[in-house]
Point group: C2
Chain length 584, copies 2
């Protein structure tokens, strides 16, 4: 037996007990006549004491030679600590060691195993097994476990059945790129890894499973942006015989349960917002509503003056930045530079100071008088002391630009409190979205999403205006889940594929099994999927997901710890009936 | 709202309630003046009644036209049933329908959606979504969910943390073949899908996670035998600071918990058997100990007579088949033919009848007298009325043959009661096994398994005799789990790789990250993995796993429902820097 107790559980009540502990050496303090060692494991830290008088000499000397991160086992007696440490739970006691075994020595770690480490991102990833010893990472992984357990227990209690769907499925060109897996036994053929279990969960509904969920890995071979992983985890859910309202209630229930059990926060009914309103008021479809700064559209009060920039703009829109009239000219210039960065892409920014005395001072005073500017203030709900920032241009672009500005200013003003949780349903997404590159409409959610009742006809004439039975759950400015009511009859599904540019042969080859299934008694159904990595990070008060993933990949999709991907043997390639076709 | 109740919950106490139900038409009985419909959903069946007198005419006529598996919604009043059906929970009531909506029509299903179906295996797999509507499959999937929930809740309560390990990892030639995934972003390189999260769980131990588990998909590109899937699910577990005894206790606890909670069966401490004894007494390493028929080795009492077959055999071994003296000559000949089938491969079988009067009659009476045969009976523990079956030949082969015979006879004799559970630990597996094909030793478990203390030296002289700290958990003749205490120091690990024929470069390229990790303070650790598919099937009283997998693949690794794997676009291949290299 390696231990009688772990390093986090001994208390004053254990004094005089003989114990055995195992763990890592966190720290050694050697005062010559006395050596203290902080012994660490997953559960905490316990102080060991070696004493020139009371400890056998050989053991005392061995203790003096212990290095950081050595794995040791000790036996000894729990004694009262001379100077107690109220910061740790074991701070009242220490162990007077009588036996010491070095279970494994350790090289000096390449970065310090402390909450605040000196290791850079890449180094920590290469030695992720050491990084995981650090509390911030270890606790994030334990937190993730706690969240998934809550999710599973809640959904199980609500009658959902977790069903495992296959990982080796079929590639479909719709949506993002698939990762594919060559089949050795089926020459020239490939499996694909699922981007989501979408069609399988729909088939489970056709199969009468009624309420399904699965916490499941999904895969997308996309060019990676920061904080996006080629493999990610979904809480995937589907229900039969439901309307949109049933789904919203079911998963609002789950989210409310998590906020309560995990964060100790009670949230009232989640507000709901139409997609169109989210874009109009916040410039994007996942607004952070922990704070205001709603968009005010200024076309009516700015155009038809002599300011050509605004007159020629499709949209003139502003936000009132609370208290930002205090910004210096230089600070405002910095803001202007910020929105003009290529990543944001604005051509410029007009601003208007709302002075404490009720007057206004704008960067376009030449064109707009105090009465005009008072209207700006009214529409953007600006108060004295605020700064109104105004962007103009093509609607979609300018909304995205102002949204980015709103978020960065809110961050700067401390309005994005990670301990505050503001969930929001965004509803009635468009069914289709125009893709500039391929010059055709794509399904915004996926091709199985149903249009709003009665809007199917619009597909022919105004496809971009058709709204879908699709909804996103947004938390603190992040999309944490999204779903839809699905199409459940073959005719509508065939029509959708047709509008999306599939030939009949293509849709049959790729989704024939689903359309067949719809002919054998498919119930109305719909669902939702949460992005677990992000959900966990946000509940944990963070916005980056990496610390909540045990072994994440870097932005090139590499695991730098195991050094994957890697070349494979020629023999393996041959067995798979493949040849490399390298460009370089 | 599609329903106020499901089809399994209405009782006599609901009589006179107005309800709304949705589901599938299981059956329509049309008596002309009265139509009964069995409405089915996941939860049960509720009888609907349409009555020429009380039901509006249009609805009555619509009901008459309902087909099997139509999806309908009805509204109506719960009334008392004239002839009650005690076999179903809703048997006291029926619904007098006032409104009927056909939500989706259905083609005639290709096989009957009944517990006993007329559909063959391949057809059921092609229409798996219909197969899942059948109780045996539906209940198996729900049963699987229940088992995994129990596993997760038990292990969580015991302090285990579920950590997700990556699916896109690195290919290693050791063990079975990997499925590989070409990387588009890393030209000419491949990920591999994990055969198990082995190295990652060990790194989690190095990372101080202490107690880990994961219910996780694993992948093996093997030529499939019946009942083996290219993707399968493991309950993967690992613990730090443990000896073998700690692991056995931990997972015996889990298994006992499952047997109690799932099957309502209390099992005392699991018996333990050495690997060598399992082979000697049962001819294989996963003995079914629900019944006897232990092997009796007969070399000493059969050799040095004039029967050359036995004299030349490495092993002569028999079993006593209870009550089988009643077998006719023809039945025994059939047994002999059975063991001579190429799949079994015995050259013949000697038998000895144990008559009720205490005499013996063997097929080799020419060589053995009553005294000899009495010894056979003594050694095989045969009683009057039994039949002793004796095989002979090369030890390993004859053991496998007799083991197969023992199992088939036990099956025939009804000794393999699926409601009885006999768990067994098999311990001290060999570290290495000889591979005839490559003419070298392979790791029997995997190359991370530690040898028994003090046996490392034997590796040089008698590698085949080195025993490992490795154990299997066997249930009713099936291996449901296996594991080992791992090597946790770099030196021993390097030695192991060396003995397994890895060059230093190879072991560094493939497992360098693990050996590096061992240098930074690796704790002693070990673990176990359960095969979930099989575990669930056995707890569910079955031996075939397919009904416990929602969407299984066939023996060619194909999903016949979605028709995968399939060819991919040339464009996709090009992006992946690959060319097909077809043999045909």
């Amino acid at each position: 037996m390696y231990r009688s107790h772990n390093c986090g559980e001994l208390r004053a009540s254990d004094i005089n007990t003989e114990v055995k502990l195992s763990g890592w050496v966190q720290k050694v303090r050697d005062k010559g006549f006395m050596v203290w060692v902080d012994l660490r494991d997953r559960y905490g830290i316990t102080q060991l004491i070696f004493d020139a008088e009371r400890t056998p000499k050989a053991i005392f000397e061995k203790a003096q030679k212990l290095g950081r991160e050595y794995v040791i086992q000790v036996q000894g007696k729990v004694i009262e600590r001379a100077s107690k440490n109220p910061n740790i739970l074991t701070g009242d006691i220490e162990i007077l060691v009588s036996e010491l075994t070095i279970l494994n020595a350790a090289l000096l770690p390449p970065f310090t195993i402390e909450d605040e480490t000196d290791g850079g991102e890449e180094l920590r990833m290469k030695y992720r097994y050491l990084d995981i010893r650090r509390n911030p990472v270890k606790n994030s992984l334990i937190f993730r476990h706690k969240v998934t357990q809550e999710v599973r227990n809640y959904l199980s209690k609500e009658g959902f059945i977790e069903v495992e769907t296959p990982y080796l499925i079929k590639s479909t060109p719709e949506g993002a790129r698939d990762f594919v897996v060559p089949s050795r036994m089926n020459e020239g053929q490939f499996y694909a890894l699922p981007q989501s279990p979408q069609t399988f969960k729909q088939l489970l509904m056709v199969g009468g499973m009624d309420k399904y969920f699965q916490i499941v890995k999904c895969f997308r071979d996309e060019d990676l942006r920061a904080d996006r992983q080629p493999e990610f985890t979904q809480i995937d859910c589907e229900m039969a015989f439901v309307e949109q309202e049933d789904i919203l209630n079911a998963f609002e229930g789950l989210t409310r349960h998590l906020l309560k059990e995990i964060n100790g926060i009670e949230v009232a009914q989640f507000p709901r917002m139409l997609y169109d309103d989210a874009l109009r008021l916040y410039g994007n479809d996942k607004p952070d509503i922990r704070f205001g700064m709603q968009f005010g559209e200024l076309n009516q009060v700015t155009q038809h003056k002599d300011f050509g920039v605004f007159n020629n703009a499709e949209l003139v829109v502003g936000i009132a930045v609370p208290g930002a009239n205090s910004y210096t000219r230089k600070e405002i210039d910095n803001l202007i530079d910020w929105v003009k960065r290529p990543q944001i892409g604005a051509l410029g920014m007009v601003y208007c100071r709302c002075n404490e005395d009720g007057t206004y001072k704008s960067s376009v005073d030449k064109f707009y008088d105090q009465t005009d500017l008072a209207k700006w203030a009214e529409i953007t709900q600006a108060q004295s002391g605020d700064l109104i920032c105004v962007l103009s241009g093509e609607t979609n672009k300018v909304r995205a630009q102002l949204s980015a500005l709103r978020m960065v200013l809110a961050e700067r003003l401390g309005l994005r409190n990670p301990k505050e949780f503001a969930p929001l349903w965004v509803m009635d997404f468009p069914l289709l979205e125009w893709d500039e590159e391929t010059e055709r409409y794509h399904a915004m959610h996926h091709p199985f999403t149903s249009p709003k009742p009665g809007q199917l006809e619009l597909l022919k004439t105004n496809p971009g205006e058709v709204k879908a039975n699709a909804y996103d759950l947004v938390l603190n400015g992040n999309e944490i889940g999204g779903g839809s009511i699905r199409i459940h009859d073959k005719k509508t599904q065939a029509l959708m594929f047709d509008y999306l540019g599939f030939t009949e042969e293509e849709s049959k080859a790729q989704f024939g099994f689903l359309m067949n299934a719809f002919e054998y008694g498919a119930p109305p159904h719909g669902g939702l999927a949460f992005g677990l990595d992000r959900l966990v990070a946000i509940l944990g008060g963070q916005e980056t997901i990496r610390d909540f993933i045990a072994f994440p990949k870097n932005n090139s999709g590499r695991d730098v710890m195991i050094d994957a991907p890697a070349p494979i043997d020629d023999e393996q390639l041959k067995e798979l009936n493949l040849k490399l076709n390298l460009k370089s």
